[in-house]
């Protein structure tokens, strides 16, 4: 597992949450329950093939539950994403907001061509600092202004 932001990572504490292609109503089973770990734990979230309005509501509800830890370290892996719409982009942004609110870090990686196309179509690639040469990004750095705004609101 690659280090994130050069922070020391306790590999025993690394856990993985995955979403297989879920039918509507199966979202609760999509994320494996996470065991109790130390505070420094990394959650790798492999988004499923479809991240559209139909799936997002349930995905967000379950993801929020998993992010409800102090200083979460989150990796969003988009390599399996074949379909994404504005609701899917909203999910990404809400993950970022949730993670930042808990003073955590969030990283995007493994962006599929389909996901990259949607990010480019909506201009999110520029906001996130994505390019053909740079396909992994620390959303905290990319959205620094948002981070600062969130922190000053929280303060």
């Amino acid at each position: 597992m690659e280090p994130i932001l050069n922070l020391p990572v306790n590999l025993d504490a690394v856990t993985c949450a995955t979403w297989p292609n879920v039918a509507l109503g199966d979202a609760k089973e999509a994320i494996q329950p996470l065991p109790e770990t130390s505070n420094l734990c990394t959650v790798v979230v492999n988004l499923p093939g479809r991240v559209t309005a139909k799936e997002v509501r349930m995905l967000m509800r379950d993801l929020k539950a998993e992010l409800a830890v102090d200083q979460p370290c989150v990796v969003l892996d988009l390599r399996d994403v074949k379909e994404m719409d504005s609701a899917g982009l909203d999910l990404l942004l809400r993950c970022v907001a949730e993670t930042i609110r808990r003073d955590g870090t969030i990283r995007l990686r493994g962006i599929s061509p389909e996901a990259a196309t949607v990010l480019e179509l909506t201009g999110m690639d520029q906001i996130l600092g994505l390019s053909p040469e740079n396909t992994e990004v620390d959303l905290g750095i990319a959205l620094q202004d948002v981070v600062e705004a969130e922190r000053s609101l929280a303060a």
């Binding site: 559209t52 309005a53 719409d85 061509p113 196309t117 179509l121 909506t122």
Partner: protein
């Protein structure tokens, strides 16, 4: 010399040129600068005096691609021409777009005294053949088998003009660019409102929009505030490009709505489908805020434009 033509529309193809049975139309039916590839081929035939034209689709019937239903229809049309006393039959498949001089081709065929002439360019056959109807009339078996017998000994007509094999969506995009650059003899349907910027009748461009030539805005299309059209892009008829969107190096097919604040780059947008050419992906959207067919839950918005066909605005040459 009585000349007839049978024009065949091939099946729809996907991004990579393989048959796509889920696609609504073949590339032959796609519009380039205001008129479909098929219509441009038909127009060309008529310009050269070939007015008796039958158009057949390989997707005819529910049978397999190029199946029984299509060939039955083909046979009956050939039979019709033969019985009407046509002397020469032009068989063209609009799998490729070719700017043939049909007059020269027919003259070559007549002078060559061959039963069949096949058009070739540097890359090979161009799916256009000229055949003497007398041979089809007098032979045995189906017309298809009679044609097959003659195909083994064609004379070749070497074509050096403009052709595009239209094997993929990328080929289609290249055709649109070549048309805008004047490399292909494709006349945009509309008025040239600025050097290398053409606009169809009833199109509306907001005064704050930026259109960089060469570019084409089709009939009745709406270009909203803050839109940027650049990179040799073509927006076909009855489209709506919503506020703040950039269309760069792309084609937008008829009746396509493109949502606000988007960046369509290196792509062909067709209703709710986006073909991204560099990444070689095809995406279909059910999200009307991004891409949708005009009329799919969206009304035709009232015009708030400040540009008219003869008005002024920001055009970059």
């Amino acid at each position: 010399m009585h000349v007839g033509a049978i024009v065949t529309i091939p099946n729809a193809v996907g991004l990579d040129g393989s048959p796509d049975r889920n696609a609504k139309t073949s590339i032959a039916g796609w519009e380039v600068l205001g008129s479909s590839v098929l219509n441009r081929v038909l127009e060309r035939l008529r310009v050269f005096g070939i007015g008796d034209i039958a158009v057949l689709s390989e997707q005819h019937g529910t049978s397999a691609i190029g199946g029984e239903a299509f060939w039955n229809l083909w046979e009956s049309n050939v039979g019709r021409y033969v019985s009407y006393g046509v002397s020469v039959l032009v068989l063209a498949r609009v799998g490729s777009y070719t700017e043939l001089d049909f007059g020269d081709l027919l003259r070559f065929h007549r002078e060559g005294q061959s039963l069949l002439t096949e058009v070739h360019d540097q890359q090979g056959p161009l799916e256009v053949v000229v055949v003497n109807a007398a041979h089809l009339r007098d032979g045995n078996g189906s017309y298809r088998s009679r044609l097959r017998n003659v195909l083994s000994k064609p004379q070749q007509y070497r074509f050096a003009g403009y052709s595009n094999r239209l094997r993929s969506v990328s080929d289609f995009r290249r055709l649109a660019k070549d048309a805008l650059l004047g490399r292909a003899a494709i006349r945009p349907f509309g008025e040239e409102i600025a050097p290398n910027v053409w606009m169809g009748e009833g199109a509306q461009i907001d005064a704050s929009a930026l259109v960089e030539g060469p570019a084409y805005i089709g009939q009745d299309s709406r270009i909203r505030a803050g839109v940027r059209i650049c990179g040799m892009s073509a927006v076909e008829q009855r489209c709506e490009i919503d506020c703040g969107t950039t269309v760069d190096d792309s084609c937008v097919m008829p009746k396509t709505y493109v949502g606000p604040g988007l960046n369509v780059s290196g792509a062909v947008a067709a209703e709710n489908t986006l073909f991204h050419l560099r990444r070689n992906v095809k995406l279909q959207f059910n999200d009307r805020r991004l891409l949708s067919a005009i009329g799919a839950g969206r009304g035709w918005l009232p015009p708030t434009y400040l540009w008219s066909q003869r008005g002024s605005g920001r055009l970059v040459q």
